[in-house]
């Protein structure tokens, strides 16, 4: 009897030792997991979890495993702080910030006090990386507006452009303003500029009629997929022939519009650094695994989150972190961020001290209900 008992005790002890030898880095993020923008939060959660699983399977970083935790913030700045605080209670050491800009702005105020490294996958507003500890994977709103105008004029897609944007949304306004000012410089004619607000975002017949009357060749939609889904279905029944062109917020449109309606999205172009059908090894690996695990094609939010976790891995390696109890962990990771290069699924990225990534923008087109990389005809 005694023998058995001692055996059990020894076994338990080894288990304890095993467990304590492996450290786990808690990576926390907040995002809308319920509510209107839930697709974004869910995508980010899936993408980040997938990256962490891959890293853990490969043995982690210097024996340190990754654990991704996401809290719901419903895209609300107050709830983002609550989510962040819960994650701090749970031992978070690196933050994925918040998925949406408004929420991220309030979150970084807290993170700045803690001095924690923040890499937001998708908060695109300029001020979201205003502190030294904050970095991002996506483009900023101003950059997207400029890139979109350049892309349209460089590829000679259209010269007469109509815009429909959400005046009550900071993301939309940010892209819109920069697009309009850039359009004048590159010779794009904005024939009509239609606005709506989040209180009237279901019926777009007025705006679409104006677009139709203006004779625009292209409709620029710097908005989120939810509203774009309404616009596209209504545009189809209104018989508008123009091409629709959006930014990263339009990503996820195929899921939003639902099976069977995807023909309304036919030919829609998105400016995004990620194309799910790209043939390089990384993207193929990411897309197949993502489909297997979550049953849908990854969008750009998932890709950004996936890259964000890999950026954390790179920073950990660069800083040579072997012990998470290191008192200088935050400083080491933050200074490592500007030294790393990440070859991710959204392109090859390096970061400057401002926290902005440098990568090139590409466009995808929706063909036969799937995202296909854009190639100039």
């Amino acid at each position: 009897m005694k023998k058995v008992l001692s055996m059990v005790l020894v076994l338990m002890l080894t288990c304890v030792l095993c467990a304590s030898a492996e450290q786990t880095l808690v990576i926390g993020g907040t995002g809308p997991l319920t509510g209107d923008y839930a697709t974004y939060g869910t995508s980010v959660r899936n993408g980040a979890t997938l990256a962490a699983e891959e890293i853990n399977e490969a043995g982690g970083v210097n024996g340190i495993l990754f654990d991704v935790k996401m809290e719901d913030d419903q895209a609300d700045p107050e709830k983002a702080i609550n989510g962040y605080s819960i994650l701090v209670d749970e031992g978070m050491q690196v933050s994925l910030g918040a998925v949406t800009s408004g929420a991220c702005l309030s979150l970084i105020e807290e993170a700045q006090v803690d001095g924690m490294l923040v890499i937001t996958p998708s908060a695109s507003q300029k001020e979201c990386v205003q502190y030294d500890n904050c970095f991002r994977v996506c483009f900023t709103d101003p950059m997207q507006g400029v890139y979109a105008a350049d892309f349209i004029s460089d590829n000679a897609i259209a010269t007469k452009v109509a815009i429909i944007y959400d005046k009550s949304n900071d993301y939309s306004v940010g892209i819109h303003d920069n697009f309009v000012s850039r359009a004048g410089e590159v010779g794009i004619d904005v024939v009509t500029d239609q606005a709506f607000t989040s209180q009237s975002n279901i019926d777009f017949s007025v705006q679409l009629q104006a677009v139709k009357d203006s004779g625009a060749e292209l409709v620029f939609l710097p908005i989120y997929a939810q509203e774009a889904a309404y616009i596209l279905t209504q545009a189809k029944s209104a018989g508008i022939e123009a091409t629709f062109f959006g930014c990263d917020g339009l990503d996820g449109i195929l899921t939003k519009i639902g099976e069977g309606n995807t023909d309304a999205c036919e030919g829609v172009m998105l400016l995004t650094p990620f194309a799910a059908d790209a043939q390089d090894e990384k993207t193929v690996n990411f897309t197949t695994k993502y489909k297997e695990q979550f049953g849908e094609t990854p969008d750009q939010f998932a890709a950004d989150a996936y890259d964000a976790v890999y950026a954390i891995k790179a920073a950990m390696e660069q800083a040579g972190i072997t012990d998470l109890d290191d008192p200088d962990l935050n400083e080491k990771l933050i200074s490592a961020m500007t030294e790393i290069t990440v070859e991710g699924v959204t392109g090859t990225m390096t970061w400057d001290a401002e926290g902005e990534p440098s990568k090139s923008a590409t466009a995808v087109v929706i063909k036969d209900g799937a995202y296909v990389a854009y190639s100039a005809q």
Partner: protein, 334 residues
């Protein structure tokens, strides 16, 4: 000394709130609170202030208004602009109380401006007009670049602390409960109970209605200032009618006209969704179901009947023991 029942009730409320605040303050200073709870303290206080202030119009005056968030936004924007302008010139100890005063007063002025035409209406009409007014304010703020438009007003110093918020809650409570038992309060409640009778008794309807309305607007404005100084940025879309309705839900749940109920309901309504987080994606669904259940338990006739029966059974036990005591006494005298 015999205290009036109303006074005892008031004392219980004060003791409850002060006791709770002191306990939390001590725990917080000692570092015993989780980060999650620490960060929830100020928002809970803001919700309490909003609920008590809306209770003045909905509970005391008996008029349904759906524009409370608009007064909050007016207060938030004016208070935050004041703080941003005075960031360098005034120390926090002087700046923040002044900002709250500014926010409250501006909201009160808007309360008068809106109240004069709007309070001629009653019931559903008033509710709709206040709803419309709230939307107007939100859209005006959204379209003026000076207020930061859709991306919001940034750069407000984060001055809100639990101590300040708790003091404001106590002031709001004090004003609301004193109003309730004052001559003015009785006049306001007389209007609620019977408008015609109140008018024929010589009560100036317009004056008292406006008084309640403006007082509610003032405290909503102060709550807005606290809200703005708790977050780094405020955006107009956080002050839409959904927020007005959220506050109304708290007031209805707490019991119309009951300050203590409003406080308890405000705390529950804020904490509940946060502590339902373990439900993951079903959180908001469960939250809604709990809300329905709480409303039913609070106000359905069947639930009330059960509650009265329990109360009677309980008081029956007490009464019996009291009765025997009295009887015994009487017997000895005879």
């Amino acid at each position: 000394m015999k205290l009036k029942k109303a006074t005892v009730n008031k004392l219980i409320t004060y003791l409850m709130v002060i006791g709770m605040f002191t306990a939390i303050y001590i725990l917080n200073e000692g570092g015993y609170l989780s980060r999650q709870l620490q960060k929830m303290l100020v928002p809970i206080c803001i919700n309490i202030i909003l609920a008590i202030s809306l209770n003045i119009t909905v509970g005391f005056l008996g008029e349904l208004t759906l524009g409370h968030a608009a007064f909050m936004s007016v207060g938030a924007y004016s208070g935050c602009l004041f703080s941003i302008a005075m960031k360098e010139t005034l120390p926090m100890a002087a700046r923040f109380p002044l900002a709250m005063l500014v926010g409250g007063l501006v909201a009160a002025v808007f309360g008068i401006l809106v109240g004069i035409p709007v309070l001629r209406l009653r019931g559903d009409y008033l509710a709709i007009v206040t709803l419309a007014f709230g939307e107007i304010i939100r859209n005006v703020i959204l379209n003026i670049d000076f207020f930061g438009g859709a991306s919001g007003l940034k750069g407000t110093p984060r001055d809100s602390t639990f101590l300040i918020a708790a003091i404001v809650v106590l002031i709001t409570m004090f004003v609301a409960m004193n109003l309730q038992s004052s001559r003015h309060g009785r006049a306001i409640m007389a209007i609620r109970d019977n408008r015609i009778a109140a008018e024929s008794a010589g009560i100036n309807l317009t004056y008292y209605k406006l008084l309640a309305f403006v007082l509610a607007a003032f405290f909503a404005g102060v709550a807005g200032v606290l809200y703005g100084h708790n977050l780094a940025s405020i955006t107009p879309d956080k002050f839409d009618y959904n927020r007005s309705i959220e506050i109304l839900v708290v007031v209805v749940l707490g019991g119309l006209g009951s300050v203590r109920g409003a406080i308890i309901a405000a705390i529950i309504m804020y904490i509940l969704p946060e502590y339902l987080r373990f439900m993951k994606d079903y959180r908001m669904l469960i939250y809604s179901i709990v809300l329905i259940l709480m409303m039913l338990l609070n106000s359905s006739p069947a639930a009330i009947a059960i509650k009265t029966r329990i109360r009677e059974a309980l008081s029956g036990v007490f009464k019996k023991s009291k009765k025997t005591a009295i009887n015994g006494k009487g017997g000895s005298e005879a």
